[in-house]
Symmetry: C2
Subunit: 208 residues, 2 copies
DNA sequence: CCAAAAGTGTTCGGCTTACACCCATGT
DNA sequence: ACATGGGTGTAAGCCGAACACTTTTGG
């Protein structure tokens, strides 16, 4: 009975939601793109295994990480179980191991290559969960730097939902839910009025 | 690496939400009350294992069954993983194996005995999930007979949420969501006006 | 005729949505 | 001065919550 852990690592790059994929280094599906993952070590917890994979691939540690679902049909082998997690990272903090044999890469979720096993299903599941959580929690903190202009946050939401939001309504929602708060500082980024900088009220996952 | 499956089997008895517990027949926690479960057989899927456990304990098969969460801290043993499911059954269809050595029994969820491992946490998790699903899906079909007066359904909702609902609002919500529909038949149950019988528009789980 | 549960509409407040103009800055 | 993105208020529709009386039956 084999237990493995899979991690759907999501980020925003160039206003596009992307997922980290690696080349498989073993049969079956040798050389195909797949989600990072591996066997659960005998002494570690599931969350530890997922966090370890995340650090191995991206170098970042303190990010949002949540258990997604457990699958029994992911590596063809009978009696094998995979517990999937999803993580949200700020791509500016990530350093991929591009020297690694498995050549990791970020792929736009609308433009995925053919994947090993049923990995596409796992990614769809992660995106659905992410969209839900964005609505009523602060998970986006894990995609953003400490402070940011509101329009950056809105751009992240729009990338993930694939549609535009009204900026007045967006601001009202974020503030009235108490998810973010103004820092009082501003930032200038071009030939226009400087933007106020905001921060998340909390950078811990909300427990409901 | 051991993989086991746990099932939180919920029902309504005497207007109370209850969970099926058994006596553990092995160490550790020998003789304590615990959720039914067992090892995943080499050739079966996770959902099959959960359904098998459900049939073994209750005799019913075609009910709502959903994966809840996977735990790695449930039987003390390191490297052991338990995938929890929850099921909703109509107690009128259930025949418990009362002759069985483990003496299964229904316990009101507000009045649980001390449980083995962290089973109380799993039950809380199941109840939270159930309450969520009741709001926007038809899962309650699995707790009800084919046809029923609306007040019976409302009583089920009230038992699970632990509070009363306004019957006009309740009726409107159920009908406008299209979860149930009238059958045209009625039922008389006492010295008062007969009730219209309703049925679920679909007795399949909604996939969203 | 009385007791008991079934059935039925309307009002109010809050939330979501849609929508258009002025502001501050760099060049 | 002008181009660019930043910032702001209001009205309309929709949804959920609160609320009381009439209907139909059995005894």
């Amino acid at each position: 009975m084999r237990v493995s852990v899979l991690v759907v690592i999501l980020t925003i790059i160039e206003e596009e939601l992307r997922v980290l994929l690696i080349h498989r280094s073993a049969e079956p599906y040798l050389g195909w793109w797949a989600l990072p993952g591996g066997l659960l070590l005998p002494s570690e917890s599931l969350a530890d295994a997922a966090a370890r994979k995340l650090v191995e691939e991206t170098g970042v540690g303190d990010v949002y990480l949540e258990q997604l679902f457990s699958f029994d049909d992911l590596d063809g082998e009978v009696g094998s179980v995979a517990i999937a997690y999803f993580a949200l990272v700020d791509s500016r903090r990530v350093r991929l191991r591009t020297e690694a044999a498995w050549e990791p890469g970020w792929f736009g979720v609308k433009d995925l290559p053919e994947l090993a096993f049923a990995n596409a299903k796992v990614i769809d599941y992660a995106i659905a969960r992410l969209r839900n959580k964005l609505v009523y929690t602060n998970v986006a903190y894990s995609l953003m730097p400490e402070t940011f202009p509101l329009s950056d946050l809105q751009a992240v939401y729009e990338s993930i939902f694939g549609r535009a939001f009204d900026k007045r309504n967006f601001r009202r929602r974020m503030l009235s839910q108490g998810i973010i708060k103004p820092t009082g500082r501003t930032i200038s980024r071009g030939a226009h009025r400087p933007a106020e900088l905001y921060e998340f009220s909390s950078r811990q996952p909300m427990t409901l």
